[in-house]
Each structure stands twice: as structure tokens, then as C-alpha cells.
């Protein structure tokens, strides 16, 4: 083994040269990853970047074509079964048992871990409270809202009190209130010392939750770091979005001199600046132009690195 035991102990995931090929297509290309105990780690990237394949390899659900992978101290895929005892998974696609009630879903899933008895009953009561589902304990899955189903899936993933939780787009399709509640719960889990790995398409979600993240594209890591560091390293601190009649002429003759970098997206011009004031002063003299000033965020980094064109 090429790592001393102390570092190994502090890492819940360690991947070297992780690769997945399907025929001639390389979906995950020579990935090096390390996730520290107790952190929330984000896997970001456009559709087809290899996020889900990477997660599946971490879970032992897809066999790597090459590379070394260690999760929670177990060699994957060889020791996947032992690793699963310490792992919780929230899949992208809902797979609750539609014929069971909320409580039956939890107890049936627990049986897959060999859990039963009084300790399990106490755990289920605790998880129903954690997921705000006490009132729905005996309700069928068909009567639950999207947010409730997600919370139940999260509670289900915690049934074995895992050390590491893998969440594949945990809040996709939820309304703002339901998302806020999931975020609160994920923060609670981090406070309890659990490690989280999540994928998301919502940059503000990653910015809020993740201690560190990587942005993937075409199966490779483009950048990695904390959200704040990434914003600082890869993008100017201010963004001004401008649109309106005559914008292009105005920008070419006047606006351009104040701007470090700019980019068109359809009818809107994105200006990236170190100091926003001269541009904003100039814009105030042009009533026909609409503009919005904001701090640069992770989404700007993401778009800068992966481009503006659609990925479908």
C-alpha cells in the first residue's frame, strides 16, 4: 500500500486512475479523487460528464475498467458487501416500494442490512422525526409529495447509521421549501460527523453545502477546491449582466474599457470585472440598457469552464 495508515484513515474515498470505458467510449478517464472524513464533497459537471458513473463505481454498482478504489477502508469492488454495511445511498431515481407504507419501507430496507428488533424500532422512530414524517408513518407512498418522498429516501439511506452518504441529485425537482428542508437535514448530518458525497446541477446548492468539489467534463476533472477558492481563482469577483437596445454599439464604444472579460449569451452580455463601479456609473447614463450587478458565483465558474452550449 502506498499510503501511510493515518492518511488512509482520514479519507473515506481514495481513487487513483479510476477509469470506465464502454467499448471505445471513455466515460470516466483516469480520475484521482480523495474525500476526507466529515466533509461534504461535490461532484459537478454537465450531463454526460461522468458523475453518475463515478458514483456507481464508488458504490460498487459499476465495475471500473482500470484504477484503484478504496471506500471507507475497503477495496472496491472486491469488498463492496462489507462497505455497504457502512454506506447510505440516495439514488437519483425514486425507488421506494410503492406497495408499502412509509414505515414498511423503512423496516423492509432495514431487513436488507439484517437489522431487526427493538433497536430498529427505536431507529425508525428517530428517522421518522428526522424526516418530518411522523404523521405519515402509516401512509402509502402514493399519498406523499415529492419532498416527502425525498425525505423518506434520505431517512431510508440512514437506516444503518452509515459513515458515508452518497446522494445523486438529492433536490432535483423539489420546490424551494422542500429543498431548504433537505439542506437543513444534510447540514445536521455533517454536524453529526458523517461524510457526504453529492452530485447536483444546482450551483447554489453546491456552494451552500460543499466543503470541496470537483467539476468534471468528459470524464476528467477540470478543477477542484472549495467553492470560495474556485470562484476566487477562476473568475473576476463581479458580474454585470446587460441587455437592451443598442447594447452592442454602446459596449464597443464606451463599456468595453471598464471590463476585464465579457461574453455574449444570446441577447445578454456578461461582463466580468475586478471593480464594478466605473461600468455601473457609465451604465446609469444609458436608460435604454437594463443591467444587473451581482457577485461572481460558482455558476459563473462552471459556465466559464464547461462552456455555454447545451449538453443533452
Amino acid at each position: 500500500m502506498r499510503h501511510d495508515p493515518k492518511t488512509l484513515h482520514d479519507l473515506v474515498v481514495e481513487a487513483h486512475g479510476l477509469t470506465k470505458r464502454y467499448g471505445a467510449q471513455t466515460v470516466v478517464d483516469n480520475l484521482d479523487l480523495s474525500v476526507r472524513r466529515g466533509e461534504c464533497f461535490g461532484l459537478l459537471g454537465p450531463n454526460g460528464a461522468g458523475k453518475t458513473t463515478t458514483l456507481r463505481m464508488l458504490m460498487g454498482a459499476t465495475l471500473p475498467s482500470a484504477g484503484e478504489l478504496n471506500v471507507l477502508g475497503y477495496t472496491i469492488p472486491q469488498q463492496a458487501r462489507q462497505m455497504h454495511l457502512r454506506l447510505g445511498v440516495v439514488p437519483q431515481q425514486d425507488n421506494l416500494d410503492p406497495d408499502f407504507t412509509v414505515m414498511e419501507n423503512l423496516s423492509t430496507y432495514a431487513s436488507y442490512f439484517g437489522l431487526r428488533g427493538a433497536a430498529l424500532d427505536a431507529r425508525i422512530t428517530e428517522l421518522l422525526a428526522f424526516a418530518n414524517l411522523e404523521a405519515k408513518a402509516h401512509a402509502g407512498i402514493g399519498t406523499l409529495s415529492g419532498g416527502m418522498k425525498r425525505r423518506l429516501t434520505l431517512a431510508r439511506a440512514l437506516i444503518n447509521d452509515p459513515d458515508l452518504l452518497i446522494l445523486d441529485e438529492p433536490t432535483t425537482g423539489l420546490d424551494p421549501q422542500a429543498r431548504q428542508l433537505i439542506w437543513q437535514r444534510l447540514r445536521t448530518l455533517l454536524v453529526q460527523g458523517k461524510s457526504l458525497i453529492l452530485t447536483t446541477h444546482y450551483m447554489e446548492e453546491a456552494e451552500r453545502l460543499c466543503d470541496r468539489l470537483v467539476i468534471l467534463d468528459s470524464g476528467r476533472i477540470l478543477v477542484s477546491g472549495s467553492p470560495a477558492d474556485l470562484v476566487q481563482q477562476h473568475i473576476e469577483p463581479h458580474v454585470v449582466e446587460i441587455h437592451g437596445r443598442g447594447m452592442e454599439e454602446w459596449f464597443n464604444s464606451i463599456g468595453q474599457q471598464f471590463v476585464q472579460r465579457s461574453e455574449y449569451a444570446g441577447e445578454t452580455l456578461f461582463c466580468y470585472l475586478a471593480d464594478e463601479r466605473p461600468l455601473l456609473d457609465a451604465l446609469r447614463h444609458c436608460p435604454e440598457l437594463h443591467f444587473m450587478h451581482r457577485r461572481a458565483n460558482l455558476e459563473d465558474v462552471f459556465i466559464k469552464l464547461t462552456g455555454k452550449e447545451l449538453r443533452e
Partner: protein, 259 residues
């Protein structure tokens, strides 16, 4: 690793128990479906057709038919379970995907599903046996010996159906299997008529297939005739089919779900 014979442990039990739990919730329609149809066959053909036929192999036709129907119903019940129900759990509800995120493996799931298919055959044969007893077409309590045979038939056809499910892209695919495999077996395995009058090729061919042997064992048990001397040997045929299909289904599901 991917071609290895499945590992056999007790971890099939939670898979089996999950299916039992669902079945208990939905048992009304399930039971009607599983024994209603065979019962209609028994009554309509047994009395209707039986009136024209009279005796077959020295037995009233309905008595002859009852033992065949018990076996055919076990085959059908397990096939439906291994095709439509298992496909739903695999591809529609993603139940297996949830299981695979836990310490359960493909091997455990396949074994649990096969034993569940055998259990369903067993469950659905009980009301048929009861009705047959009430109609007086069962000879004596030795008919209870039918139950383990029915379980073996269910395990065999459940495993075979799972091989088909592992290859299926949609429910439509199952029509091929029913038309090309299950229905011919239903017709040439001695369910409706003895095979003695059939051409040699059919008679010998049927002996290589899993259903005919089960019928050969079940019929004497239900009618009080002496059992064939090689009873246990007869049951090796469906058991060999079950073992081969278990292995093949596991290999195919590993390839489909984990590659």
C-alpha cells in the same frame, strides 16, 4: 468472477420476505388470478369434455385432468412471477437497484426471486387441491405429497423465467417465451391427455423437458395409483433445469445490472 456459479447464503431471505409482504397486501386479486383460471379449466374440461371422453388410463377424465392442472398452474404461476413481476421489480420500480445499494448482491436477489416463485406456486396450488378434494377427485391424503413437487416445479420455472427477464427489453418480449416455450410444454407434458398415443419423437422429447416428469409424479399421488419406481430420479430433471437456469440468470443479471 462474472461467470462464477452464484454464491448461496441465507441472504436470499430478506428478498423472499419482501415479496411475501407485498403479496400479503395484494393477496386477494393474486389468489383469484392464480387459482381461478386453473379451476375454470378443471371444471369446464373435466365435466364438459370429460362427459364425451369417459375414462382415460382407467380414471374418470376429471380425475386424470386434476393432477395435470395442478402442475400446469404451478408452471404458469412461477412463470408469471419470474417474468412480469420480477421485470417490474427490476426495471420499473427499481426495487433491485435499492437492494443492490445494501449488502445484498445479485446472487442473493436471484435466489430470493426463484424461491419466491416456488413459494407462489405452492400457495396457488393449495386452493386447487382443496377444491379437487371437495369435488372428490383426490384419492387420499397422500395427495399432500404433491406440495413439494409443486414447489420444485415453481422453482424450476421461476428460474427459467428469470433468464428470459434478464434478456428482456420490455414486457412484450415475454410473449415469445409464453408462445414458444410455456404453451407447447402445457400441451405435450401429459396435462390434458396421456402421451402414450403421441409419436415417439414427441414422447421422448417431452421426457427431456421439465414439466412431464412432475406430472408423472403428481398424478399417482393424487389418484392413489402406485408411484413410479424411480420417483426421485424423475425430479432430478426439473431440479437440473432449475440449477442451470439459476446460474445462467445470475450471470446475465450481473452483466446487465453491474457491468
Amino acid at each position: 468472477m462474472s461467470h462464477a456459479f452464484p454464491s448461496i447464503t441465507l441472504r436470499w431471505l430478506p428478498v423472499w420476505r419482501r415479496n411475501l409482504r407485498v403479496w400479503r397486501k395484494l393477496s386477494g386479486p393474486a389468489l383469484i388470478g392464480n387459482f381461478g383460471e386453473p379451476l375454470l379449466y378443471l371444471l369446464a374440461l373435466g365435466y364438459g369434455l370429460g362427459g364425451f371422453i369417459g375414462a382415460v388410463n382407467g380414471l374418470p377424465y376429471i380425475v386424470f385432468l386434476a393432477s395435470g392442472i395442478v402442475c400446469a398452474s404451478a408452471m404458469n404461476t412461477a412463470s408469471f412471477e419470474g417474468l412480469y413481476s420480477a421485470y417490474t421489480r427490476m426495471a420499473v420500480q427499481n426495487t433491485w437497484g435499492g437492494m443492490l445499494a445494501t449488502p445484498l448482491s445479485i446472487d442473493d436477489i436471484v435466489l430470493g426471486e426463484i424461491l419466491w416463485a416456488g413459494t407462489k406456486s405452492l400457495i396457488s396450488s393449495i386452493p386447487i387441491l382443496l377444491v379437487a378434494a371437495l369435488l372428490g377427485v383426490v384419492h387420499d391424503v397422500s395427495a399432500l405429497g404433491v406440495l413439494p413437487v409443486v414447489f420444485i416445479v415453481g422453482v424450476c420455472f421461476g428460474a427459467m423465467a428469470l433468464v428470459v427477464t434478464a434478456l428482456a427489453k420490455s414486457y412484450d418480449f415475454f410473449i415469445y417465451y409464453f408462445t414458444l416455450v410455456i404453451t407447447p410444454l402445457f400441451l405435450v407434458s401429459g396435462v390434458f391427455f396421456p402421451l402414450d398415443g403421441m409419436p415417439d419423437a414427441v414422447r421422448i422429447g417431452a421426457q427431456l423437458l421439465p414439466l412431464a416428469h412432475a406430472v408423472d409424479v403428481v398424478r399417482p399421488l393424487m389418484t392413489g395409483q402406485p408411484l413410479p419406481s424411480l420417483t426421485l430420479l424423475y425430479l432430478i430433471v426439473p431440479l437440473l433445469y432449475a440449477a442451470g437456469a439459476f446460474w445462467l440468470a445470475t450471470v446475465l443479471f450481473r452483466r446487465r445490472l453491474i457491468s
